[in-house]
Symmetry: C2
DNA sequence: CGAACCGATGTCAGTGTCTGACATCAACGT
DNA sequence: ACGTTGATGTCAGACACTGACATCGGTTCG
């Protein structure tokens, strides 16, 4: 059993993520090479690519955990809830994860918004999340296209709420998610 | 004035798009090099990159036209329509563009669905479309977040309808868009 | 008509991303 | 001790993409 110091400095991924965010913020995503990130983290370029599939992925280390969190919430919710409410309730609960880390999230988002390549990656993460949520709904017996639409609408709500959460200094995710959901209901009710 | 044959074969973009789709279908996206596509089209790699920003973009030549079409429909619609109805009506009208080209669309989509890089590009095109639709709604006086949510919800409807349109052999876009919209209304009405 | 110009293409050299193959070396179990 | 394991390093190479400059029909203008 390893006590605390192995052959290598621990937490290679953490060091890579920190170094990447810092460098991307200083010089902009395109003007940073993977070799530089790796060097800053005390590693080699090749090792970077063993931890992250590509140069973008290093900014999205947390998305798998977020997905598990949301799917878990949906799966664990009471039985008599409607699909869209299941999703919205799960999203509102992400405050547990997000509210503590607003500054870091802002930094990360600033970098992402400035670079189309990173926007693409963010979108596919959200789409993957939507698919996972739809799958969790189906597990609960929700019909296919209702599951997809509920999940997708939920993601739209989340995006609106997330932008406000970043801009805002006080209100928490739960409140903002609820607010955006009410707006969606108003909008889709219109005929 | 040039009659019909210039110094170069005409329609370079069209040739590149055809060659790319054919090669991607034969061997899969990753196993085709840009140099091969260009050679197949009677051009050089460098010229490919003058027409398309990258290897993915060659499959998305039509998305700008689709966006203009939809934005135009939203802008031209009668005055007393609700935001979501504006978007849905525009989407239903895309049959004019799509219904004739189902086979080609299927081929293209098969390639895209098989490669995450291409999925990413598709998603950012849809996101761009959503932003453009939201802008068109704002032009008509719709409030910001209502515009965003209506556009985003509309895109979700479109995606569901489009998948069905590809799978289906008979029903047209208008019908499928209307059907998916009704489902969305049912889902979001649930409380 | 000839010269200057223009626009799409070609040529070439170079940077950076990403991959495969193989080597290293501390920790661990036997 | 000794073989195994797993994270890392080293090296070579394919390929995406870019900047700089050359080419050459067609167009325009004097």
């Amino acid at each position: 059993m390893m006590r605390s110091m192995g052959r290598w400095e621990p937490n290679a991924r953490g060091r890579l993520e920190r170094a990447a965010l810092a460098l991307y913020r200083e010089r902009g995503y395109e003007r940073v090479t993977v070799a530089e990130i790796a060097r800053e983290a005390g590693l080699t370029e090749r090792t970077f690519f063993r931890h992250y599939a590509d140069k973008r992925e290093v900014l999205f280390g947390g998305s798998a955990a977020l997905q598990e969190f949301l799917v878990g919430k949906v799966a664990a919710a009471p039985a008599d809830t409607s699909p869209i409410e299941l999703v919205v309730a799960a999203l509102a609960a992400t405050g547990e994860v997000f509210d503590e880390r607003r500054d870091r999230a802002r930094q990360r988002q600033t970098v992402i918004d400035a670079h189309p390549e990173l926007r693409e990656r963010e979108l596919i993460k959200l789409a993957t999340l939507a698919t996972a949520l739809a799958g969790a709904l189906r597990e609960r017996g929700v019909e296919e296209s209702a599951a997809i639409l509920a999940a997708q609408a939920g993601i739209a709500v989340f995006q609106v709420a997330f932008v406000r959460w970043l801009a805002d200094g006080e209100r928490d995710m739960a409140e903002l998610v609820r607010g955006a959901y009410e707006e969606l209901r108003t909008v889709t009710a219109g005929g």
